[in-house]
């Protein structure tokens, strides 16, 4: 059973079958004017609110397609920019950083004391031995100079002329 709204809408649109239309008009004689008014309203809407006719529809279409392509190209560029830090680039950056760190370490970390080949000075004491009681030998190996220090030696008399 159709509701009143369904029958009314269909009657306004002229979609009711004839039998149902006559029955609806007999049941609601006060609605005859509304159908007239609805028809006028539809005519007015059609006349004043229709889509404008484009003078050059093909040109409009081509412009629209060009705009779409432009926007798609821009999206592609942004996609390329976002991948600037790609995995290969990051790998090379890491390798470069490691090489720079190694270079800095070689340049800045001091060489083993007493063996500064860069300056040509090499004096490495391999062995020391003292046979005098109370005499001790210690090696002081610094950059550019290696000194063997003997502690406990007898003092040379000051009146002994060594010059």
């Amino acid at each position: 059973m159709k509701t009143f709204e369904e029958r009314y809408t269909a009657w306004l649109d002229g979609a009711l079958p004839d039998a149902e239309k006559e029955a609806f008009e007999q049941e609601h004689p006060d609605l005859a004017g509304e159908r007239e008014q609805g028809a006028v309203l539809r005519r007015l809407l059609r006349e004043h609110l229709s889509a404008p006719q484009l003078p050059n529809p093909d040109f409009f279409n081509s412009q629209l397609l060009a705009q779409i392509e432009h926007e798609q190209a821009g999206a592609e560029k942004r996609k390329v920019r976002r991948t600037w830090f790609s995995l290969p680039r990051l790998a090379w950056a890491g390798i470069g950083s490691a090489l720079a760190a190694i270079g800095l370490m070689v340049a800045l970390v001091p060489h083993e004391q007493g063996k500064d080949d860069r300056n040509g000075y090499v004096a490495e004491v391999l062995k020391t031995q003292t046979s005098q009681p109370g005499v001790k030998a210690t090696v002081d190996a610094k950059k550019d100079v290696t000194i063997i220090k003997l502690d406990g030696l007898e003092t040379v008399p000051p009146d002994k002329d060594l010059k």
Partner: protein, 136 residues
């Protein structure tokens, strides 16, 4: 005094030695030319501001033959061995004597021209330092 124990060999390295008196006197620093670049280092490491040369010696040695460098104060350096290492450095064996007493036996690996310093006995207001250089 020089002792030459072997025939001079142009290929054999020479050994040069120097006796230095290190003190805090006002005398200016006076070291041999080949030690000039080490003056500041010696001053820093020993704490003495004045370095005076007391004597120098030089001799040439062939492999397997020992040699002696003598200095004032009855000090002498005996070179007991000298040879080349595979990396081109010089391996040298040295003994320091004062009179007949051996004070030190040492073996060192030196680059030509790199002095090895030995801080010896005290004398007057300072101490005696012996420098040994192999090669020029």
């Amino acid at each position: 005094m020089l002792h030459l124990s072997a025939r001079a060999d142009p290929a054999a390295p020479d050994v040069w030695g120097c006796l230095i008196y290190a003190s805090n006197s006002t005398a200016p620093v006076q070291t041999p030319g080949r030690l000039n670049r080490y003056d500041k280092k010696l001053e820093q490491e020993t704490g003495f501001s004045s370095l005076q040369t007391l004597g120098e010696n030089q001799a040439q040695f062939t492999g397997g033959h020992s040699g002696v460098l003598t200095f004032p104060g009855d000090l002498r350096i005996a070179v007991t061995s000298i040879s080349r290492s595979p990396d081109g450095k010089i391996l040298v064996g040295l003994e320091l004597f004062r009179g007949e007493k051996q004070l030190l036996l040492t073996q060192a690996r030196l680059n030509q021209g790199s002095p090895l310093f030995i801080r010896g006995p005290a004398w007057r207001q300072g101490e005696l330092i012996i420098a040994v250089v192999v090669g020029s």
